[in-house]
């Protein structure tokens, strides 16, 4: 009986010939990531193990991204604790403000994820890295601390759901729309405890960035990981980074899947996830007249350079609606500089948008764009839970960057074609 990609990676990383869903393995981690919110509690737990030193500092990455540049004294203290730990433990993959970025955009860019890797991160969107053909999953701070001490993580082998994606979407729909469509189909717990394997001609045609966006939101369907088989597009992306070549795994023809879901994206138009769950997905045309107070383009879901190019192409020469604030945040310092060099940041600034240095800030209601009571945002992020971006009585609509930019101009949620 064959194995899926996810099963193969878990078998190889735990020194086994094979694993089956439900089996618990102790997997060797290739990368163990924490950020300024989750690393400090992990450091506290690490101290309790009694270990003086982490098992392997070169497999640890510490990223300043959530409340940075620090929003208050308390968050500055968290960042300081992480900084001091990095120095104490000789962790070189420590990313300081100004040389950092939203962790899930930063790690691939820095070449820290290769196909076949086991990546854990104390952040639920660690599943993003499955786009590289890696097994990547989010864990808590105690799990991270234990992994720092031992180099290993306990994992229950998930069942895999395959998503056979066929067709090509319309000009204005992207990876974001495809993953929202899928979450709309199966629900926010539709892949709970499972691996989501994305495959088929629709995927082969997709850019690595669309794949990163899709894998990023696997957790929004409850999945343990999202995964794509590495191909020539992956190789091309990796070649532009210092990444190791890695090992490419493919699911066997006779691998057992818990479910196979057919997803036809031919001619698909943009969709939006309405408040307050990512599964509340509607065609953008159904939301006519939904007025917005804020539009946000950024995050680990859609803060990549192609996302900024897309939003800029929509807003170029236009103005942000007088009753709307638009916030644009390139996901990493490298993306920020590239966007500056291409003139994208100026296009946003000229349109009347605020452009900020890389941070997770507004996505989680942290800082840099928190919503007041009764306010409505359209956002390229991944969660629209109650209170996610601010007040518990604020509302978040999730969209792709073209829709977010067009809506900023229109003052209400619109299809990009309506303002072009």
């Amino acid at each position: 009986m064959g194995m899926t990609m996810t099963e193969k990676i878990l078998a190889a990383s735990s020194g086994r010939e094979s694993v089956r869903p439900g089996e618990i393995v102790l997997a060797e981690c290739d990368l163990m990531m924490g950020h300024d919110v989750t690393a400090p509690p992990a450091i506290n737990e690490f101290r309790k193990t009694g270990a003086a030193k982490v098992k392997d500092p070169d497999r640890i990455a510490l990223v300043n991204d959530h409340f940075v540049p620090n929003k208050d004294i308390m968050s500055a203290a968290l960042a300081k604790a992480m900084r001091e730990f990095a120095r104490e433990q000789g962790i070189k993959k420590y990313f300081e403000v100004g040389r950092s970025g939203v962790c899930h955009a930063l790690l691939p860019e820095e070449g820290l994820v290769s196909p076949g890797d086991v990546v854990i991160g104390a952040d639920s969107h660690t599943c993003t890295h499955g786009a590289m053909g890696a097994f990547a999953t989010g864990v808590g701070s105690t799990d991270l601390a234990a992994a720092w001490a031992t180099g290993k993580i306990w994992l229950k082998t998930p069942e895999t759901m395959a998503f056979d994606i066929s067709g090509a979407p319309s000009k204005w729909a992207f990876g974001k729309d495809v993953i929202l469509k899928i979450i709309g189909m199966i629900g926010v717990d539709g892949a709970r405890y499972r691996a989501m394997e994305f495959r088929g001609p629709g995927v082969a045609a997709m850019s690595i960035y669309d794949r990163l966006t899709m894998a990023n939101m696997a957790i929004e369907a409850g999945a343990k990981n999202g995964i794509f088989e590495a191909d020539e597009k992956t190789a091309e992306y990796l070649a532009g980074t210092p990444a190791r070549k890695g090992k490419i795994y493919a699911s066997d023809a006779d691998a057992v899947f818990a479910d196979v879901v057919k997803v036809d994206i031919e001619g698909m138009e943009p969709v939006v996830a309405c408040p307050s769950l990512p599964e509340n997905v509607k065609a953008v045309g159904e939301l006519k007249g939904v007025k917005i107070d804020q539009s946000f383009v950024g995050s680990c879901t859609n803060g990549w350079l192609p996302d900024l190019r897309l939003a800029a192409s929509v807003i170029k020469g236009k103005k942000v609606h007088p009753e709307v604030r638009m916030i644009v945040i390139p996901a990493t310092q490298r993306i920020y500089r590239a966007a500056m060099a291409e003139g994208l940041l100026d296009i946003f600034a000229e349109a009347g948008a605020a452009v900020s240095a890389p941070t997770c800030g507004p996505c989680l209601g942290g800082h840099m764009g928190v919503l007041a009571e009764g306010e409505v945002a359209v956002s390229t992020t991944n969660r629209n839970f109650i209170g996610r971006m601010g007040h518990v009585k604020s509302l978040v609509y999730l969209s792709n960057p073209a829709v977010a930019a067009a809506s900023a101009v229109a003052g209400e949620i619109v299809h990009p074609e309506e303002i072009m």
Binding site: G50, K55, D123, G138, G140, D189, G222, L364
Partner: protein
């Protein structure tokens, strides 16, 4: 974690996410006491004040979905909740709870048949869960063996110390 918990139920719905359990704006601290002040704020801001130590949190499907923030089970425990019973749990919340020693019990039907304020008696490691108020009983499954090992060690950190022999 072999003891039995008996307490009054605080009932919540389905898909209660980590932003409801502890909004991210409060994650600028790791102090359980400060976090507990905002526990369940997205649904019930007075939660902490209302809870009597030992009470049980009951939820429907997919409890704890969303973020990996361990602050979520930490603040629930610090708010005085003795254990969480749900129809199903989101996976990261479940393992975080096991790792830090917050008892979590997956049980079908209980949510449908239990009201706010009912008294439940639960044993986290499988067996019988009782609704004392309504005189109903439910069978619950035991944890997998490996998870039992972590629990009996006293959490993941203790398990690591005992078993892996850290440097």
């Amino acid at each position: 974690m072999s003891e039995t918990f008996k307490g009054k139920v605080w009932k919540f719905g389905h898909n209660i996410d980590t932003d409801i359990i502890i909004p991210a704006m409060y994650l600028n601290t790791t102090d359980p006491e400060k976090l507990a002040d905002h526990c369940m704020e997205g649904e019930f801001p007075e939660f902490r004040k209302a809870v009597t130590p030992g009470d049980i949190l009951l939820a429907g499907e997919n409890f704890g979905c969303g973020s990996s923030r361990e602050h979520a089970p930490v603040c629930i425990r610090a708010a005085g909740i003795s254990c969480v019973v749900a129809t199903s749990f989101a996976r990261i919340f479940f393992r975080n709870s096991i790792n830090i020693g917050l008892p979590v019990i997956e049980a079908a039907d209980v949510w449908d048949q239990t009201e706010q304020g009912d008294v439940l008696e639960a044993n986290p490691n499988g067996g019988i869960l009782r609704n004392i108020t309504k005189s109903r009983e439910y069978k619950t499954a035991a944890y997998p063996e490996f998870v039992r090992e972590i629990i009996s060690s006293g959490g993941l950190i203790e398990w690591v110390k005992a078993r892996e022999g850290v440097r």
